[in-house]
Amino acid sequence: MNVADAVMLSVSGDRTLPEPAPKPLIEISDVEKIFGGGEIRALSDINIAINECEFFTLLGPSGCGKTTLLRMIAGFEHPSSGNIMLAGKDVLSLPPRARSVNMVFQNYALFPHLSVAQNIAFGLEMLNWSKFEISERVAEVLALVRLESFRSRKPAQLSGGQQQRVALARALAPRPQVLLLDEPLSALDLKLRKEMQFELKQLQRETGVTFVLVTHDQEEALAMSDRLVVMSAGRVQQLGTPQEIYGKPANRFVADFIGEANLIPGGLLGRRRDVTLSIRPERIEIATVSSFVKLYGVLKAATFLGADTLMEIEAGGIVVRARLRGAQMAAPGSEIGLCWPDDAEWELRE
């Protein structure tokens, strides 16, 4: 077979292969969790399917039940009702040690009395791997997180970012089907956080393990996830890709929580009074021709942010925020007309 044939084959192969239907690895159905004898309703009506090899994120403000849901997948909490399946098997009756799911805990929970290598080896020892397999695997994951030279240090002798990588290595070492991460980056400073976001994403691609990340940081969630779910008050608000969630928020909460959004009552734009339009500040422009103007307003303040200028415009009793490229010259107090492309409008169902 010559090269051209091989190329042909692979090309046609690519064409004829149907897009592999994503297989749900974790299926959470009708899960509900009530704490403290009925007083605290932490989760209700949770239905989520997480696919194999997916980077999935649970996003929501603090206290919305993200950790509780994650701990349920790991087996530390039991749903009050509903079901959780892992790889097609009902896992509700299984304790954490019988689930091939590993967790990176919020404060890493490294074993302080064990060295880095011993921390990573712990899970493998518990699984009764042989000494040889263990040392091979420990070396392998140490290389994966680039901590080869720290193998004999104690966790207290590592920086926050290094501890984080040890926690990752420890959780990945037993080759789990799912890696759960509970706000893994929240203890790091901004610069390190950005680096680790990239590393996490890369690690997920390299290992092909399903990652389920918990975060309250919407930027982080948008940047890293294949799909994410936005939660609030123990309920799913929206599930989708970052693009879907950013561009087509399902409701007021999502529009407001993900990025910035101007929520403009329909009445103000001559539409039906019962709809609300969500328009992202970066899609709004100052109209140069009066026939384009969709909304008139008075400029309240303009803040120069370097690459952008943030303008706050009062119109019909609400403040509209517009993010415009470069420096803008308009003086506060002047009347300006705003416009935006039609596809920037997103009608919110309440």
């Binding site: 790991a74 087996g75 530390f76 304790p95 954490p96 040690r97 799911v101 590993n102 967790m103 805990f105 404060n107 929970a109 490294l110 074993f111 302080p112 009395h113 064990l114 060295s115 290598a117 011993q118 080896a121 712990f122 899970g123 020892e125 518990m126 699984l127 000494k131 263990i134 040392s135 420990v138 070396a139 004999s152 104690k154 207290a156 420890r170 959780a171 037993p174």
Partner: protein, 280 residues
């Protein structure tokens, strides 16, 4: 110009004097006792020069030696028993299922701390005589074990609470069975608490007078009980010498407990179990 200083009790007028008086009141008797242990004179209250002869005499006194041996054996056995029970109790109270009557159980274990010691002593005595149990030193060990358990348990409970359950959860997540988690994670992490508890139990047992006085029969006299007997024939510098030795042991162990229970002690004292990973 005076610099502004945040309020500090130490700069209150009279604070220094008050502190000095308190310390004097607390420690002057001890200082006198220790100083006169080194007195050459037979009469306790008359100083006539430095000497170690009372220490020599005390150490060579067969009865004192016997009583000291009894004390150490009883304290040792009671410490081992009480520490074992206390580990189990601390784990049950801090990690166990929140069972009905847990509060009552905690209260029952803590009773020896709040009930007047004389009551414990008398009830223990009555209990033993009701059962007609006269097994010498074993009686003492049993009685001491009971009142040492709360002393041993308190530091362990504190340690278990402050270390949290995150590490144990992580071990559970990493496929550990409960027994292996206990051995590899919980036990090493709570070790400072166990050592502190054991020392407290040992010191409490060594210092105990009332309960030992009631329970000890002939041939199983502990050191404090023997010293009391000596005192009744008049205070000799030998008593001072024995007391000084007891004082030093207790104080030394108390300092050790203090050092162990400092937060920074955790990483240094939690001993790593034998290396499981062959270093390549």
């Amino acid at each position: 110009m005076r610099k502004f200083r945040p309020f500090d009790w130490r700069h209150n007028p009279g604070f220094g004097t008050f502190t000095a008086l308190t310390i004097l009141f607390l420690y002057a008797p001890l200082v006198v006792l220790v100083v006169y242990a080194f007195n050459a004179n037979r009469l306790v209250t008359i100083w006539s020069g430095f000497s170690l002869k009372w220490f020599v005499q005390a150490v060579n006194d067969g009865n004192i030696r016997l009583a000291a041996e009894t004390s150490l054996i009883v304290a040792g056995c009671a410490t081992v028993c009480a520490t074992t029970f206390a580990i189990a109790a601390a784990l049950a109270f801090e990690r166990g299922w929140n069972f009905l009557g847990r509060g009552i159980a905690v209260g029952v274990v803590m009773i020896p701390l709040v009930v007047p010691e004389i009551v414990v002593a008398v009830t223990t005595l009555i209990f033993f005589s009701m059962l007609d149990m006269r097994i010498g030193m074993l009686n003492l060990v049993i009685a001491h074990t009971v009142f040492c358990i709360p002393f041993a348990m308190l530091p362990m409970q504190g340690r278990l609470r402050s270390m949290g359950t995150a590490c144990e959860d992580a071990a559970r997540d990493l496929y550990g069975s409960e027994w292996r988690i206990f051995r590899r994670i919980t036990l090493p992490l709570m070790a400072p608490g166990i050592v502190a508890g054991a020392i407290l139990a040992f010191v409490s047992s060594l210092d105990d007078f009332l309960i030992s006085f009631m329970v000890s029969g002939a041939g199983s006299t502990t050191l404090p009980v023997y010293v009391y007997g000596m005192m009744r024939q008049g205070v000799t510098p030998e008593v001072n010498a024995v007391s000084t030795i007891l004082l030093l042991i207790s104080a030394g162990l108390a300092v050790l407990v203090f050092l162990l229970s400092r937060p920074s002690a955790v990483s240094r004292t939690a001993g790593a179990p034998a290396s499981a990973v062959p270093s390549s």
